[in-house]
Symmetry: C2
Subunit: 416 residues, 2 copies
Amino acid sequence: MTAEILCVGTELLLGDIVNTNAAFLSRELARIGVGVYCQTVVGDNAKRLEESLALALSRADIVVMTGGLGPTYDDLTKETVAAYFKLPMERDEKALEQIKCFFHKIGREMTRSNEKQAEIPKGADVFYNKWGTAPGLAVSQNGQTVIMLPGPPSEMKPMFAEYALPYLEKQSGRVFLSRTVRLFGIGESALEDLLHDKMSRAKNPTIAPYAGVGEVSLRITASGADQEACERLIEPVLQEITEQVHPYIYGVDVPNMQFALVRLLQERKWKIATAESCTGGLLSARITEIDGASEVFDCGVCSYANEIKQSVLGVSAETLEQYGAVSRQTAAQMAAGIRKLAKADIGISTTGIAGPGGGTPEKPVGTVYVGIDSEKVKKVLHLKLAWRNAEDERQTIRHRTALHAFFEALRLAKEV
Amino acid sequence: MTAEILCVGTELLLGDIVNTNAAFLSRELARIGVGVYCQTVVGDNAKRLEESLALALSRADIVVMTGGLGPTYDDLTKETVAAYFKLPMERDEKALEQIKCFFHKIGREMTRSNEKQAEIPKGADVFYNKWGTAPGLAVSQNGQTVIMLPGPPSEMKPMFAEYALPYLEKQSGRVFLSRTVRLFGIGESALEDLLHDKMSRAKNPTIAPYAGVGEVSLRITASGADQEACERLIEPVLQEITEQVHPYIYGVDVPNMQFALVRLLQERKWKIATAESCTGGLLSARITEIDGASEVFDCGVCSYANEIKQSVLGVSAETLEQYGAVSRQTAAQMAAGIRKLAKADIGISTTGIAGPGGGTPEKPVGTVYVGIDSEKVKKVLHLKLAWRNAEDERQTIRHRTALHAFFEALRLAKEV
């Protein structure tokens, strides 16, 4: 099966917002074996919308549309689809009820124009919206399927998962399940080299790699009669992969490394503390991004100045003088110092040259030391993170430093 | 003049990456008065690429393409455009030289396949690439223009500014200049209400609002014979707008609030220090994102636990007991405490309930206090930042808290 994605919205054409919906939908569709061959964005213009829909349906089995389901006269998605399939519009009373409830919930008055949002092409499947006002819709005729979802990602994403995905699964007679293995410390091509045979042989489940900034994911997707059948297919493959690349795996089905770290520390009932120079608070900001962080994190110090490294973290004046702030010795003392100050189980520290200025021939931009301190383990990583893309270099160095620091902390908490 | 954007890349169709190029190009084209009516993404497929190009050129004067300029056989952009305009391909020696130089610069060997990147449609304008290997190209014939840029945003964006924009300006016989006024504390619709007459009357320069998360921008764009003529047109409008909404303006032509703050503090030779609870290091992470931050920032403390608020920042046990950690009194003592610890000119603090848990009827999720402390000014803001979108609520509350804190610090540094 093939699909095209058709996003409707003047704000996309003006470049006011980035089209994250197309990427999300493409990825979800690829996962369930539906190839996306074209993504199109058009504005709220009847003729162009009509043309684009007809063109997409001439090439693909499924068209997933987002946007244009709002209450105003220039929201035309439903009307265009109804006209294409020659369906009259009719009111769906349950949708109207849902819209009224939503306004009640957010404590606002429903306006007359919102009633338009309860009009649907006759016979369409209605996806009642719990996250906003516009219901989603699906129409299938003669092997052509159009799915319509609201434009805001905060409504579109849950509605895709709750309604559109089961709708497509029902059409295909199969359900799909994915698990995502997240890895650090191995590049995408090295991972592909390692798993090449497995990946190319894999039909069900499939194995697909995704490259992030400084990390890689593997998505294992099975299709089967039900969730359990999928799980049975995935399990042995996940196990094999785990055996093969386990030193690089930081989590399965976790959104990011800080999430994996916070959850593991919660399990361990351990506390972590951060002492940051070049990352400047990025470590603590990421840890506290995760709800529940307060159970594992009491204190972070961003000691940008040497004086603070001394007065707050207890780095010695001799160390700073002899080895400099960007050194193995300073990183070690920062990590030990913050662990003591915070009475934590693990202290992690960063000190380095994030650029663009500050580099020297001995310590060029990208020179970073990451310190780890626990009762049993004391360790300093020496990283060389220079990155050729000048524009983002500072942010990339800081980001990669954070990944290294979290990965070391995870490793430490796992090993014990 | 109208344009369409045609992005080529299988990684976009798979949803591996989000198409930020389309938004960037749409915005840049809108700025110079070129309306974008359609954005399309296709993969590395000869037939579909050919069809999409022909369709786009049948509807628009200009097609801006990104991607598909790589060295491999499935990079087809140039070849497709050459075929459309019936131009032979030929080698551009200067482009080849540039590619060799680039590989030399990054210390890697050029491969044979990269030679393909120096092949161009005969007679095309070549945009030599200083940021990567693939040169950009422009072909104009019979009122149809195709501009080809590399896919990576770090190459595409500077190449658009340096080559494509002047190329389009040359065609239109005018140059364009924009200035962006950044505002905080006023919503997009309130701003439009205030400036409605001015905005709808404005022809040259034009005035366009853009809504960000928690902030708004106004872009003033003039067209004229040269940069100076544009500046003369913009100046009085910028001045009028400044007079009308100056309490909300945090900067002109600055990328974000932390940039404006760091630059102003550098000017003032002031130091700032941060004491963070609910933002957990976000303030210090953002300040240190800006190069030069070390001149204005020595120390930030993320005091997530009450004990740290007491031991490191000197918040009194009585205050914590009587008013709680999330209170006006605690915020004030945190700001004063960090200012003293860091020997800074300004101390800023945050304490609040970012959610999803931790709310109470008296202090629901979104209750935040921001403290500001300087020698002359001591102030605490009480914010209510609850946001209905559950998924992002925690991050949105933290983000908005940071904006409020930085804005107050900016105001303080400006007033003196």
